[in-house]
């Protein structure tokens, strides 16, 4: 789905090609939405009966996507806000800030949807807000997101104002939060002290690094899709610089992520024992394709290679693959942490599909995943449209 196609995109695509891309993207989106709606219908008709998660692996794809989206949301905001405040190339304009905010919110809302649908009692979602315990990272996070959402919305509105004393301070607060909550996603797992695999402080670093990478990749992708605001040599150069910056951010974040990931898992082999069953499951067991093929190959190596080329088109592809790869990376944290039961023989003691240390997402879960993506992209689209509309109304440059 492309928003506005300018005469000549920053990637050098000509208008005609962009137009036909637009049709394809629209069709894709409609298909995604249709599939997603079907999935949601299934979810509401059959409850959780068609899902693949159970009681020994209680969280599945949606929670993975949730943490992915949270990361992208935080990453996009922090990059946008910091870039704006520091007036970095491609970030200094209000419109660029707004774009980052819109992406951040567009990523956050589907995350809520994923969680809501994952709940056994979806309509009780709000009781997290009405009767929380902040000892629970889940409640804490939920409050964070909501406050962040308000902050982001206010920032967004203020960005249309001619001048505002509050914009930057609020951006700082938002940036602060958006650094915190992806890290807290890590804490969300770390806080489970009875789970060796998760109970490791490195997770917050990993989640933060991935958030930055995701934010960068997200912005890069969005930019690639909508192109620069208007042609012209200078704009093009600016675009190129900003893309380059994002590219570097993504590369660095991915590398940081990998360094920490290596640290995390290699420890397991230097001190075999405690959490090695999960790591073995992840690296050599059932989960090896997800880890090695999806996460490492498709999500790290290929994107790094693509991002290191000179072709901006390939960067976009690299960014896209990095996002997909981090989706896989989320699952490599989520699922292995749930698979190795502490009680030997538990799985055989009472056999049921929901009482197995095994998880692969079902069609219904993927369909709902499509819904999340469709909603996110729609929000992004609407947001970008609104950005332009309101900016025009306010007499600002679009």
């Amino acid at each position: 789905m492309t928003a506005h196609v300018s005469a000549k995109s920053g990637f050098g695509w000509d208008t005609g090609a962009a137009a036909s891309w637009s049709v394809i993207l629209w069709l894709l989106w409609i298909a995604l939405l249709a599939a997603g709606l079907y999935g949601v219908a299934l979810r509401f008709t059959y409850g959780h009966q068609l899902a693949g998660y159970g009681s020994y692996v209680p969280w599945g794809l949606w929670i993975g996507l949730y943490f992915l989206a949270i990361g992208m949301s935080g990453g996009a905001f922090v990059l946008g806000a910091v870039g704006y405040i520091l007036d970095l190339p491609g970030f200094g304009k209000r419109s660029e800030l707004r774009l980052a905010i819109v992406l951040s919110v567009a990523a956050l809302i589907p995350a809520f949807i994923g969680v809501a649908l994952d709940l056994g009692h979806t309509w009780r979602l709000f009781s997290i807000l009405t009767s929380p315990t902040f000892t629970s990272m889940m409640a804490f996070n939920a409050w964070m997101y909501n406050i962040f959402l308000v902050v982001a919305a206010v920032c967004w509105l203020l960005s249309f104002a001619r001048d505002s004393l509050w914009l930057k301070p609020l951006l700082v607060l938002g940036a602060f939060m958006s650094v915190l909550f992806p890290s807290q996603s890590g804490v969300f797992f770390e806080a489970v002290r009875t789970n060796d695999f998760w109970h490791s402080p490195i997770l917050s670093v990993l989640f933060l690094a991935s958030a930055i990478a995701l934010g960068g990749a997200g912005l890069l992708l969005v930019r690639a899709l909508i192109g620069p605001e208007r042609g012209g040599e200078e704009v093009e150069a600016e675009t190129a610089r900003s893309l380059n910056l994002l590219r570097i951010v993504v590369i660095v974040a991915i590398v940081v992520y990998e360094v920490f990931e290596f640290a995390e898992y290699s420890i397991a082999f230097w001190s075999p024992g405690a959490h090695s069953p999960n790591v073995v499951f992840l690296l050599f067991g059932d989960y090896w394709p997800v880890f090695w093929l999806l996460h490492i190959l498709l999500g790290v190596i290929v994107p790094l290679v693509l991002l290191l080329t000179a072709s901006k088109g390939l960067w976009a592809l690299g960014a896209f693959l990095a996002v997909v790869g981090f989706a896989a990376a989320r699952m490599t944290v989520l699922v292995p942490g749930q698979i190795a039961g502490q009680i030997p023989g538990l799985q055989a003691a009472f056999q049921d599909v929901r009482l197995a240390y095994h998880y692969s997402p079902t069609a219904m879960e993927y369909l709902v995943g499509c819904f999340m993506v469709a909603v996110g992209t729609a929000l992004l689209y609407v947001g970008i449209k609104l950005n332009r509309l309101l900016a025009q109304r306010a007499g600002l440059s679009v």
């Binding site: 007036d87 009781s127 929380p132 301070p169 602060f176 939060m177 023989g345 538990l346 003691a349």
Partner: protein, 308 residues
């Protein structure tokens, strides 16, 4: 066009610092507040005293069945206010024969749907022919003194009662399954709203004149009495969608009955009682034997003790 002022000025900086500082303060305060021990929401005191006549008319026999002895002790414990009792379970692995009577007793008592189980019994084969051994370990909820499941619940739907029982309020629980992941014993399972035998006798005619019974199994549609309330699961209502776990059969304790898995333990391997009663069988067993808890290093302080 106010793209002029690129860098933050002092005022903005102070404001920003203030916002961040205030935000942090509120967050910390919220956490600290909830970390502090709160008053139990459960009823306590005189209102929780139960004067039950159970077994009062039955004279003790010589070498009374442990079941009856424990039931007598239970009746005595119920005559104290709830905060004066501390329920514990003792499982004698030497006597457990891996018969699953407790597993199914619990399933039946609580009308657990497929995929929900409170007390599985694991079987482990050790050694090589002919020097082998089989070990059976029943695994109820440990009713931990520092339950890792409770802290993670975002909505206070699960807590530890004054009598030591870790409970879930199904009406509060949102079904996030965080607690499932937080329990190191796998003691919590989620009710996904399934029913047993949905595909039996497909095609059978219905109606008064039907030749083959063919109807849905009626025993699973009556309400259960967990926490002494009615739960019929109709129309996806609670406990469908909730986390579920062993609750030491609170509803049976209320009427002077032992937990189901204790009552139906064929090997008489499962004991239950009030740790605050020094003369109780559980205390006797716990002190006289070499008892262990499961995975003690998690620091959950399980209140289910194994004699090995």
């Amino acid at each position: 066009m106010t793209e002029s002022k690129k860098r933050m000025d002092r005022r903005e900086f102070v404001l920003a610092a203030g916002l961040v500082g205030a935000g942090t303060a509120v967050g910390v305060a919220a956490i600290v507040k909830d970390r502090l021990k709160t008053e139990p929401i459960d009823p306590t005191g005189e209102g929780t005293v139960r004067n039950l006549s159970v077994l009062k008319n039955i004279k003790p026999q010589e070498h009374e069945d442990f079941l009856v002895r424990m039931q007598r002790e239970l009746v005595a414990a119920m005559a104290k206010p709830v905060e004066k009792r501390h329920w514990i379970m003792v499982i004698d692995i030497r006597k457990c024969i891996g018969c699953f009577a407790c597993t199914i007793g619990c399933v039946a008592e609580n009308k657990l749907p497929p995929g929900v189980v409170y007390r599985p019994v694991t079987t482990q084969e050790i050694g090589e022919f002919p020097n082998i051994q089989i070990r059976f370990v029943p695994r109820p909820c440990m009713h931990c003194n520092t339950p890792s499941c409770v802290a993670v619940c975002p909505v206070k739907a699960t807590w530890k009662r004054p009598d030591g029982v870790v409970v879930i309020d199904y009406d509060k629980c949102i079904g996030c399954r965080y607690c499932l992941n937080a329990c190191p014993y796998g003691a919590r399972t989620s009710d996904f709203g399934r029913y047993y035998s949905s595909d039996a006798a497909e095609g059978a005619r219905t109606g008064k004149d039907r030749p083959v019974e063919g109807r849905t199994l009626p025993w699973q549609h009556e309400p259960n009495n967990e926490y002494a309330k009615n739960w019929d699961r109709k129309d996806h209502s609670s406990p469908v969608g909730n986390a579920r776990k062993c609750h030491f059969c609170l509803h049976r304790l209320e009427v002077g009955q032992l937990p189901m898995c204790v009552t139906t333990c064929i090997g008489r391997a499962t004991y239950f009682g009030d740790e605050n009663d020094p003369n109780s069988l559980v205390v006797e067993l716990k002190t006289k034997n070499n008892v262990q808890t499961l995975i003690p290093h998690w620091g959950n302080q399980p209140q289910c003790f194994y004699i090995v």
